[in-house]
Amino acid sequence: MRLGLSLTCVALLVGCVQAPVSRPPVVDASWRANEDDRVVSSKRVVPKVSLGGKTQNDESNKATPIESIAKIEPVDQPKEVREIAPPVLSLLEEADQLRTAGDFEGASARLERAQRIAPTEPEVYFQLSSLRLEQGSLEDAVNIAVQGVDLSGADQAMKRDLYTVIARAKDALGDASGASEARRLARASGS
């Protein structure tokens, strides 16, 4: 838990270095990036749900955020930028604190408020699906992550993280082939 939070802080810090004035930009879903384009995902600066918590493999937990921090690179003049609005960020942060404290219902309520404000923001779906995974609502975790994938547009890193949630949920559901397919898609997105 503690590790998850400290990683969050690192992520926030990096976010600040990247864009001292406002939140770092995010490529809009409608903008089609080239294969080679690096897309800065808004989720770098929001608290990341540490997927592991009590039940998950810790190594993979650590890996995801560190890896994504390392990947942040400037974007060449995206046509449109999207950023996560401050109220959404603050709700995501609150949700993260509650989740860490074990108040899953409270966290869920915050995330759903965030969803009402930003219903097409894939980060919200990522956080919600991660929470459902941690709560043990595995089917819901898969379904919400799948919806997140559809909303991710060109944000490959986001897709990878969502497929990772799907893979873990499918593992827990005992669906080995589904899990390995999700892992394959995660790898294909993460390039």
């Binding site: 401050p86 969803q115 097409t120 379904n143 919806q147 559809d150 909303l151």
Partner: protein, 753 residues
């Protein structure tokens, strides 16, 4: 002698025991009865809270609209709690706090800055920015179970001076006596002797309550005695507040036909159309004056007597110091302000509340719902309701004016849904506030052309090579129907177009092409898929299902379209977000859920075809009204019995049905009778573009008139989301070569050529 005394003593003792036992029995019975009375305030149903933050899409006018609904008072000086001040582009508001299930919102003064049509900033009094604020939610309704025809009001919700006036006028010693008042009774006895008959009560509030609850209205000495005994027993057993709480909700205050008006909450609505908390002193005094004789002092029948009686109450209250002399003078000069007709006591949002009740009935018994203090938080959005209701009024006026509804009988059912969450934001159950038949939930009507997007979606799922530009034959077609008869569907305008693009099947709602399409892919497979998608096909599986003979409620239609317009993800429709008990703990939270029911590839392409429909097709009166990208579908059934319209922006989906309850031939048309209701509703809400986000497998490309992918510079080329495989097969010229690759070979298969 001794024996005789002995006998008398025996008789006396026996009687004493009998009376004693009788009293014990009476007492137990009375207490049981009293306790079983429920003066509990039923579940309170709340609207969604108004949430404001930097960038929130609200204009100053919209926020003021909500402040007015919440009864904030417009002031000129610094606002305190419950007041607001307009200061150029900003509002200063003394917010009332609210204890939400996910945290408390404090009382505080805030400044909200608007810039054009957005909230630019929210700050506290120290000019410190606030991330997000939530106003207290509007109360939509208060459920009262046992007394369905009463507005039960908690004692604590009465204005303090109201209770003081009541006690001053009716029973000055209420808080001190033991249920009956010796002075009151003595006075009554003397007066009765003077009058020579039994006429005056001298009853305490407790006695009046007993009379109302347990006894008949006859005036006899025996009844008076029993009443006194009961009153003493009640007073001994229950607190003054409990007795008072029962009294204020039980007292008889009027008669309307065969309906008795009991309780001040009900009376406040009946005489003034307002909740008790909003009555002026003069209105309060009028209600209190009615206790003495609801028919004698009926303000509708005898306004002068009622006025006189009211002023007497005010006079008495002032003389006892309950109200000031100045208040008395003010209130006494006020007009009666009683509308001739009693206000309809159904709440303002009966259609929505009925949906809430039905959802609650799944999780709670009616006892739980009428138990004290349940709070139900819903997604009801007052802004959207306002829009929908305006659309309703305009439509009724128009339908009457055009002669389609000369008798004022046309009905409608409308529902607005938040697409990503499935939350129900507003509902109209009928043409007016009377809540009988709920047309959104319970009407089953043929859906007509509303089925077409589902036929096309099912087709695309069957064959992923289909896309907006795929050519489909539109010619006369005859097939055998479920009864073995020949079925030859006609286009709406009875014209044939020969060959049309797939998107026109939806955008221009073309019947014959729809049937060609389904037959080309296999009627049974398409019907099976329609059934999976929630369009009921029924055991006889009529091919006319393709053109919408399935009967559905507007609610179910909205759910189906929610999936279609949400990239194929179903979020179950819901009105209730959270239920909280008396102590503030969450009983039910209905979490966000989502299930894929349709491929994103099919859903998004159909969604775009509906956008063409809104821009240049059957829904153009809707789509062209707004600058935002919208999507829509119209529906009309045989002989114009049903008119349907589904319209959506980037966020919301509106579904409306218009028709007659007896299913008569009515000449109604979806794009004429139904469309404007949803169109008007969107006038009042903040619209957003439908999203251009595409799922895996689709890409934007340019299509020419004959459905080929061409360069965007080609004349008449239009941007559409298309399957990547097809985009890659782009034509080098502007499509001078005839149809190619993907479609070529299989077009033949089922175009019969």
């Amino acid at each position: 002698m001794d024996r005789q005394w002995h006998l008398l003593l025996k008789i006396f003792l026996t009687l004493l025991v009998a009376v004693g036992m009788g009293l014990v029995y009476l007492n137990a019975n009375l207490i049981r009865q009293f306790e079983s009375l429920s003066w509990a305030v039923g579940a309170k149903i709340f609207a969604r809270p108004l949430e404001l933050y930097q960038g929130a899409m609200f204009t100053q006018e919209q926020v003021r609209f909500e402040l007015d609904l919440l009864k904030y008072q417009l002031v000129q000086g610094s606002p305190v709690q419950g007041q607001y001040l307009i200061d150029g582009n900003s509002l200063w508001v003394g917010m009332r706090g609210h204890n939400y299930p996910d945290g408390e919102e404090p009382d505080r003064v805030v400044q909200i800055n608007f810039s054009k049509d957005l909230v630019e900033a929210v700050r506290n009094v120290d000019a410190k920015p606030l991330e997000i604020i939530r106003f207290e939610p509007l109360v939509l309704a208060q459920l009262s179970g046992k007394h369905a025809d009463r507005d039960i009001v908690r004692l604590s919700d009465f204005p303090k001076e109201f209770i003081q006036m009541l006690v001053a006028v009716e029973d000055r010693n209420f808080f001190d006596h033991a249920g009956i008042s010796i002075t009151g009774i003595s006075r009554a006895i003397i007066n009765n002797i003077v009058a020579g008959r039994f006429s005056q009560g001298g009853s305490t509030l407790t006695q009046q309550l007993v009379k109302n609850l347990y006894l008949t209205r006859e005036r006899t000495l025996t009844r008076k005695a029993i009443e006194a005994v009961y009153a003493i027993l009640l007073d001994a057993r229950f607190s003054k507040d409990r007795i008072l709480a029962a009294y204020v909700n039980e007292v008889f205050l009027g008669q309307w036909g065969n309906r008795a008006i009991h309780g001040f909450g009900t009376a406040a609505q009946f005489y003034f159309g307002k909740p008790i908390s909003e009555l002026s002193n003069s209105q309060q005094a009028l209600l209190i004056g009615l206790i003495k004789g609801p028919s004698v002092f009926d303000p509708r029948r005898f306004p002068e007597r009622a006025l006189e009686r009211r002023n007497l109450v005010l006079q008495l209250s002032a003389s006892l110091g309950v109200i000031s002399e100045q208040q008395k003078v003010m209130a006494s000069s006020a007009a009666l302000s009683v509308p001739k007709q009693p206000a309809d006591r159904i709440g303002r949002f009966p259609g929505y509340v009925a949906i809430v009740r039905r959802e609650l009935a799944q999780d709670y018994t009616s006892e739980q719902l009428t138990a004290d203090g349940l709070s139900v938080y819903t997604a009801f959005d007052p802004q959207i309701h306002r829009g929908l209701d305006q659309g309703r009024k305009n439509a009724l006026t128009r339908l009457k004016a055009t002669g389609l509804d000369s008798q004022g009988e046309v009905q409608l059912g409308a529902i607005m849904v938040d697409i990503p969450t499935g939350e129900i934001q507003a509902v109209l159950a009928g043409r007016d506030q009377r809540l009988g038949f709920h047309r959104v939930l319970d009407a089953r009507r043929q859906i007509g052309s509303l089925v077409k997007p589902f036929v096309v979606a099912a087709a695309i799922e069957q064959d992923p090579r289909l896309h907006a530009g795929t050519l489909v034959r539109d010619e006369t077609i005859s097939i055998e129907d479920e009864r073995g008869n020949v079925w030859t569907p006609k286009n709406y305008d009875e014209k044939e177009l020969g060959i049309v693009r797939l998107e026109s099947v939806i955008a221009n709602s073309i019947n014959q092409a729809t049937v060609h399409l389904a037959l080309g892919l296999g009627l049974n497979r398409i019907l099976d898929r329609l059934d999976d998608l929630g369009i009921p096909v029924g055991p006889t599986r009529p091919p006319a299902t393709l053109l919408g003979v399935s009967e559905m409620s507007p609610y179910r239609v909205a759910q189906r379209y929610q999936v279609l317009l949400n990239q194929g993800h179903q979020a179950p429709l819901k009105a209730v977000r959270t239920v909280v008990d008396n102590a503030g703990s969450v009983l039910t939270r209905r979490p966000f859920q989502s299930t894929r029911l349709m491929t994103a590839r099919a859903a998004v392409q159909v969604d775009h075809m509906m956008r063409v429909g809104a821009r240049v097709g059957t829904g153009r009166a809707f789509g062209q009204r707004y600058t935002e990208v919208m999507a829509s579908k119209t529906g009309t059934t045989d002989d114009g019995r049903d008119a349907w319209f589904v319209g959506a922006d980037g966020r919301r989906l509106g579904t409306v049905w218009v028709g007659f309850d007896d299913n008569r031939k009515a000449g109604l048309i979806g794009s004429v009778a139904a469309l404007p209701i949803i169109s008007d509703a969107f006038q009042y809400v903040r619209r957003t573009h439908r999203s251009n986000n595409l799922p895996e497998g689709l890409e934007h490309a340019w299509l020419n008139k004959s459905g080929q992918v061409v360069d965007q510079r080609c004349q008449g080329a239009e941007k559409r989301p298309l399957p990547i495989e097809y985009v890659n097969a782009k034509s080098d010229d502007c499509g001078s070569n005839p149809a190619r690759s993907v479609d070529g070979h299989w077009l033949k298969d089922w175009f019969g050529g």
